[in-house]
Amino acid sequence: MLATDADILAEAERWKRAGRGVAIATVIETWGSAPRPTGAHLVIDHEGNFLGSVSGGCVEGAVVEEAIEAIGTGEPKLLEFGVADETAWKVGLSCGGRIAVRVEPVT
């Protein structure tokens, strides 16, 4: 059974209440064929544990790294991934699409 976005947000709350640093990453925009729809979530804790998906596995590693940093600073981040964005990121989406992901620390 796949975790739904509802399960993921509930888990984010449990993690935060348990005293863990938590950030929620959300797909806020997609161009072309993107593996996960706008609104999809990945929740990350300060140790890099994560649940959910923003890309079906293509860019989760990079999002987790950025999220750990955002948990540290308390500031949100906007990340863009995709084959059209070669200079900023080495990680491409195999499907050829592009996604924008916002990382929001839970304060």
Partner: protein
């Protein structure tokens, strides 16, 4: 987002209340000002009220501009429930389809010979009269209700509750003649004519379905069409 906002969002989702997390995307805001959690009742007064209400209607999350600022609307609508009266042959197929298309399915039938776990190994089956079973199921506008027993003693109370709860889809099995009698009974029982007219009968899209499994496909297709009504292009909707 802070923990209180996350908790408010989760309370709405768990309670099947439509809710949106609205994030201001422009830099420079304090954490507490970046995100607001809104239900459709809280929307009025916001610059983006109209766009957000439209997002609630379509269920689509996305970026919107209002008053020179950019906002991301993340809309959470309750997952669709399917409630069926009648643990019959069509329900066996419909319950399977519901599982595949991710509808949360419950079957009610007081006839214990029909309502068995053996006939419905993967579906919640309640061997009770609808009057007893329905209150706990909390029918709402994100529920599809289908009456399949052919027995007014079982189907009518279910239809009555579904129409009063504003279920987005209400269907009932039976010939036109059977349905005409059903309309008479429900109207006589005090339901408004307009409410009774919402019952889809004959139930299901007209596929020429020839057996119970095919009728189940026709019903599932009609439920999907009703679910996606707002998503479909206006021209398509007008043609129907």
């Amino acid at each position: 987002m802070n923990l209180d906002q996350l908790a408010a969002l989760n309370r709405c989702i768990a309670g099947r209340v439509p809710v949106a997390a609205v994030t201001a995307l422009d830099a420079g805001l304090e954490p507490g000002d970046r995100v607001v959690i809104l239900t459709p009742e809280d929307v009025s007064g916001q610059y983006y009220a109209e766009a957000l209400l439209e997002a609630f209607r379509t269920g689509r999350s996305g970026i919107h501009e209002a008053a020179g600022r950019r906002y991301f609307f993340n809309v959470h609508l309750p997952p669709v429930k399917l409630v069926i009266t009648g643990a019959v042959h069509i329900s066996q197929a419909l319950a399977e389809i519901a599982r595949v298309i991710d509808l949360d399915c419950t079957i009610i039938d007081p006839r214990t010979a029909f309502a068995t776990a053996g006939r419905f190994p993967l579906t919640r089956v309640i061997a009770e009269w609808p009057e007893r079973a329905l209150p706990a199921l909390a029918l709402d506008r994100y529920t599809a209700f289908v009456a399949l027993t052919h027995d007014p003693k079982i189907d009518d109370p279910g239809l009555d509750a579904a129409l009063r709860a504003g279920c987005f889809y209400v269907g009932a099995l039976g010939s036109r003649k059977t349905h005409a009698k059903r309309v008479e009974r429900l109207t006589a029982a005090g339901l408004p004519v307009a409410a009774v007219a919402r019952i889809r009968a004959p139930v299901g899209l007209d596929l020429g379905a020839a057996n119970p499994a095919e009728i189940a496909v026709a019903i599932a297709a009609e439920i999907i069409a009703a679910m996606r009504e707002k998503r479909r292009a206006p021209a398509e909707a007008a043609e129907r």
